[in-house]
Symmetry: C2
Subunit: 275 residues, 2 copies
């Protein structure tokens, strides 16, 4: 998918919402636990009811891998369904992969060719040759972990090296690598005080911003500091949407939560005179 | 598996060799490509013929994930086979995972409970809460990427923060976290000049040392600088063992390559007066 198509979708749906699919068997409604493939059924229902309000879907691979072959099989069915039924949605494999070049190539093959995702989150710790295999595919994207939303982000991302924080060096260095036009960055919503600075370093790159909702980030704040004149952000919400209800109305309630975020986003897009 | 059992196995087999299982369909012998489950067949043959000379097996998850559900299914069969037939071998999921705590817990569940590995490699970029879920299991281990064997290791691992390199800070910080007794570290064989320094910081931790063979690291050098008085190292070799031959004798030749490394290791263990 091209970034220009993503931007078009955002304007059309008046939303830069990414819905995070983290299906946990212990948390899904009781009445669907007896379905043939409950992970698939749950996720599909959530997607169908939120897709009107969202432009991107982030699949948290950990939640599928936890169920071994069955989980990966549900994932494969889901991404096939989405690619067929909603070809204009931007899909993210939230996998946080990264290995020596030879192995990263295999992960890229898995997520782009085998599964068919538009993008994958990647960890930068192993440097250039661990990232480049992910950005050599046309219209596919590596979303590099820069500054994450969790408390552990202070341990290494926020320590200083020279006059920069490590996460800034990740951003600055990666701009010099091959395929940098296919790179996006993860910036946690709980770190909005850094967003203005990040926008100085990378005015044009798209940012994936998780951590709004349960993790405590503010949509208004991250939009204010993170947006550029081509929108430039996707804001993810997972648990507060997908677990809004554990009853028969779980999908409907997920849709309602997504619509509330979309409404806020519409106002922000209008304030910013983007739509 | 307990570390004391691993050390016993090393003394018994006179080997601290870890065989890396990176099965690539394009590289396996032609005559086994028509097997029902070629990835399983290839890997199992290699394991059976090298197990006399090795104490650990490292499964490179990228190479299984590349084949989607089929690949994960081969992996599940393999680890079941190994745990049943060779319960005393130390198994490593070379997955380089790491995510916010909630998601890391799911990866830990996948690799320790669902698949049944003894250990998993993890990336430290997201800090404390991304690692701790992996070290809360009894007798299971997180092998933290510290200084890797690839060229990209210079991009962030070897930059300076305060008076330390980032990889040193990873090691030093992680010692303060819960479950540090269940942590090991990846130190690339191509970085042997750092091993003496690393041993000063962590005299007792076990190190997983990849990069001997095709990547150019020297077994003698890493053993000299990396060993402690409880041995303390596993040296991994993947491609130079498993792709020693592409013909009918592939398993036999893999065994021969492993035996050569074992012979060298026996000499080193004797020189060090460990056996």
């Amino acid at each position: 998918m091209k970034i220009s198509d993503l931007i078009e979708q955002i304007k059309l749906k008046k939303s830069y919402l990414c819905v995070g699919i983290d299906p946990d068997f212990d948390k899904i409604p009781e009445h669907i636990k007896n379905e043939d493939d409950p992970l698939y059924f749950f996720s599909k229902s959530i997607i169908d009811s939120t897709i009107k309000f969202s432009v991107a879907l982030k699949f948290n691979i950990a939640f599928f891998e936890a169920y071994g072959v069955d989980g990966i099989s549900s994932l494969e069915r889901l991404i096939k369904y989405v690619n067929k039924k909603y070809p204009k949605v931007f899909t993210i494999a939230d996998a946080k992969r990264g290995d020596i070049g030879n192995s990263s190539s295999r992960y890229a093959k898995a997520y782009f060719e085998k599964f068919g995702f538009d993008s994958i989150t990647v960890s930068p710790y192993m440097g250039k040759d661990s990232i480049e295999p992910f950005v050599s595919f046309k219209d596919r994207y590596a979303i590099i972990l820069a500054l994450t939303s969790n408390s552990g982000s202070q341990d290494f991302q926020l320590i200083t090296s020279g006059r920069k924080k490590v996460y800034e060096r990740v951003i600055i260095e990666s701009r010099k690598w091959n395929g940098s036009e296919n790179m996006m960055y993860v910036i946690g919503a709980t770190k909005s005080e850094h967003l203005a600075n990040i926008r100085q370093i990378i005015p044009d790159s798209f940012l994936l911003i998780p951590g709004v909702g349960k993790q405590g980030g503010s949509l208004k704040e991250v939009s204010f500091f993170g947006m550029n004149n081509k929108i430039g952000i996707l804001v993810n919400s997972s648990r507060s949407i997908i677990y809004a209800s554990k009853k028969e109305d779980f999908a409907e309630r997920a849709g309602y939560e997504a619509s509330k975020l979309r409404d806020e986003m519409e106002l922000i897009l209008k304030e910013k005179k983007i739509i």
